[in-house]
């Protein structure tokens, strides 16, 4: 009986995968016509990688880091510096020229992405040594600070020949197709999921649950926190590299603290401690932001222009949304549960009852998750 449900669920998953691939192939068939949709989906997939890596740290190890933008910047700049075609470099570094050391080094894209991830992992290891020995509040503030320092260094005039200072880098090679983006993102996320479900993932969760008990199980707190921090930063760096390829041109302003807050919104909305929640959140937030774009345009109804609608209103709506989730739906969409077909069907079955209940007694909204 159990096996039948299981194979049935596998069948559903396979079906969903085929549908997704079909949809992507459909978009890919007319890249010019669907460029807007493609760009939203690609950005979502990249944010999903970063959000899952933030969740690995925050949701599964219980450490709260706010350095995502900084680690993404490192990945992005490494990928950019080493993949901009050599012949295009003169036009990119037209102000101060490029450092002769770097001028002729061009790496294949996968190598550059890996290098970007490794560089941010190495920096994370360094920061982690002093900070992870302390309470996690300090980690939040120190990583946030580092993220700003990294930006300051990138924009500093003395590194102009490497980072092109405040002019940013352009002509970064892009992705050949949407499949590359989704494939890479899926690879990163699958690796993180495998880690979370391994013996090491259990050790991370033990630390999240109770540090003292985890220690008495023979787990060296610092070692495992550092490990989780380094791995999370690795994937954040890779995500940053992917973002650079997606955007084709980057500068230090791309990686402001607000980027970290975007990722945080995704993780909180999806549910802290749920990988599928983070993925779902990445697609919802990224496309939601595009859909909300009309808030930024002046709105005229029957000749009367509604005064609220102007540039910046979208972000206000967005931050209010974050506050509403934090205050009233603290568990987010998925809580700490993962998506499952049984959970989805269960929800659909219960939906009529729930609606009826809500009508009769205007009860407080539930956690609104797919519970198994």
């Amino acid at each position: 009986m159990k096996n039948i449900t299981k194979s049935k669920n596998n069948l559903y998953s396979l079906g969903a995968l085929v549908l997704l691939l079909g949809f992507l192939a459909f978009l890919q068939s007319d890249t010019a016509g669907y460029s807007y949709q493609i760009s939203i989906l690609e950005r979502s997939a990249i944010y999903a990688v970063v959000a899952v890596s933030m969740n690995l740290l925050t949701g599964f190890t219980g450490l709260f880091s706010l350095g995502q933008a900084g680690f993404m910047a490192i990945g992005a700049y490494i990928v950019a510096i080493f993949t901009i075609p050599v012949e295009a470099r003169a036009s990119v570094y037209y102000v101060s020229g490029i450092s002769p050391v770097l001028a002729n080094i061009q790496l294949p894209i996968p190598v550059a992405l890996l290098l970007g991830g490794l560089a941010s992992a190495a920096l994370a290891a360094l920061i982690g040594i002093p900070v992870l020995r302390l309470k996690s509040d300090y980690l939040a503030i120190a990583t946030l600070g580092f993220s700003e320092i990294i930006r300051a260094f990138i924009a500093a005039p003395m590194f102009d020949t490497i980072t092109n200072g405040s002019y940013g880098l352009k002509n970064i090679p892009g992705f050949s197709s949407i499949f590359t983006v989704f494939g890479l993102a899926a690879l990163c996320i699958v690796l993180m999921v495998l880690l979370i479900h391994s013996s090491y993932g259990r050790a991370f969760k033990a630390i999240r649950e109770d540090e003292i008990a985890a220690q008495s199980m023979g787990l060296n707190l610092f070692r495992y926190k550092e490990l989780s921090f380094v791995i999370s930063s690795f994937f954040t760096g890779v995500g940053g590299g992917m973002l650079a390829m997606f955007m084709r041109s980057i500068d230090s302003k791309t990686f402001q603290v607000s980027l970290t807050y975007d990722i945080l919104l995704i993780v909180v909305l999806g549910g802290i401690g749920s990988v599928t929640g983070s993925v779902l959140g990445a697609f919802l937030v990224t496309s939601g932001r595009e859909l909300l774009r009309f808030f930024d345009d002046p709105l005229v109804i029957g000749g009367v222009s509604i005064p609220l609608f102007r540039s910046g209103f979208r972000m206000v709506i967005f931050s209010i949304l974050l506050m509403v989730v934090v205050l009233f739906y603290r568990r987010g969409i998925m809580g700490d549960k993962e998506f499952s077909w049984d959970g989805l069907f269960g929800l659909i079955r219960r939906l009529p009852d729930r609606l009826k209940k809500r009508k009769t007694s205007s009860a407080a909204p539930g956690e609104g998750g797919l519970k198994q």
């Binding site: 925050t58 300090y138 939040a140 120190a142 580092f146 700003e148 300051a152 607000s258 945080l264 934090v326």
Partner: protein, 293 residues
């Protein structure tokens, strides 16, 4: 560098440090009581800047200042009421995320309402008067800031050590639950703490922006972070610590700018943080706390 220039730089540093100290106290007070990094504190400071711009547009300075301070205090207290109080029993991470949310909201709201372009900060004539002492010349606000900071800190310490509400604040910061069992009104005490913190941030804002002349939606975020570092440096929860941290930060930063390394004056703060955490994690005046097993 001549001796006069050196003194001039010191004066600038001390003045900046005074403004930092006033903000850092807000962090230290709130952290002491709620164990929360109030990420929105820097943005309250930024909003106070805007309030002042609008108050000065229609009021003379001696009315504009109290109005600005009052509105800032209201903002601080209502943030606590709306965004932190409902999460009293929630995990600490949720409260921290809520604080980030408020900070994000205030920045976006400021961008929406006042645009992202820097707005000119009004000049208060008597604060901008230039004084000459020997070879030193500086505006009145430069001399006023450190003096006012020290006076305010003295008053605050008196308040905390010698009044009933001060005793309540000390009790709540030592043990939240026991304090409530002893009949201390937790919510009132916390609101009061936010009011004091916001008041100091408001005063700090006037002193800081009078020297800088412009306000923009993100002008609170970096000073906010720095002042939190100042509070950690001095030992989080300790008021004299926050003050000394603020002054050290102000002096260090000014020294780097004077040496022509202004790009790294921001980085200096965080390097200071890391060094302190390595050598003395509890900060200069912090107390060591041990979890009960």
């Amino acid at each position: 560098m001549s001796f006069t220039t050196f003194l001039q730089q010191c004066l600038t540093g001390i003045s900046l440090g005074g403004a930092y100290a006033l903000i850092a106290i807000g962090y230290t007070l709130v952290y002491g009581i709620l164990r929360l990094i109030n990420f929105a504190h820097g943005d309250i400071f930024m909003m106070a800047g805007y309030f002042m711009i609008f108050a000065m547009a229609s009021l003379p300075w001696f009315l504009a200042i109290p109005v600005t301070l009052l509105v800032t205090v209201l903002l601080g207290v209502s943030i606590e009421r709306v965004a932190y109080r409902p999460l009293r029993s929630a995990p600490r991470m949720s409260v921290m995320i809520s604080a980030i949310g408020v900070s994000y909201l205030l920045q976006n709201l400021a961008t929406y309402l006042f645009t992202a372009l820097p707005k000119g900060y009004p000049e208060i004539p008597f604060l901008k008067r230039i004084f000459q002492i020997g070879g030193l010349s500086a505006s009145f606000v430069t001399f006023l800031t450190p003096v006012l900071t020290l006076v305010l800190v003295y008053l605050l310490i008196l308040l905390i050590n010698h009044t009933k509400i001060g005793m309540a604040m000390r009790a709540v910061s030592k043990d939240y639950e026991t304090a409530s069992l002893m009949g201390i009104k937790i919510n009132k005490t916390i609101s009061f703490t936010f009011a004091v913190g916001s008041l100091l941030a408001g005063i700090g804002s006037i002193l800081y922006f009078t020297d800088r002349m412009t306000v923009f939606p993100f002008s609170g975020s970096l000073p906010g972070l720095k002042c939190f570092v100042a509070a950690v440096f001095g030992g989080i929860g300790s008021i004299p610590g926050a003050v000394i941290g603020g002054f050290i930060l102000g002096l260090g930063e000014t020294a780097l700018v004077a040496m022509g390394q202004s790009t790294f004056s921001d980085a200096f703060t965080f390097i200071l943080l890391i060094v302190m955490l390595l050598i003395r994690p509890t900060g200069l005046f912090g107390e060591k706390t041990t979890d009960k097993v």
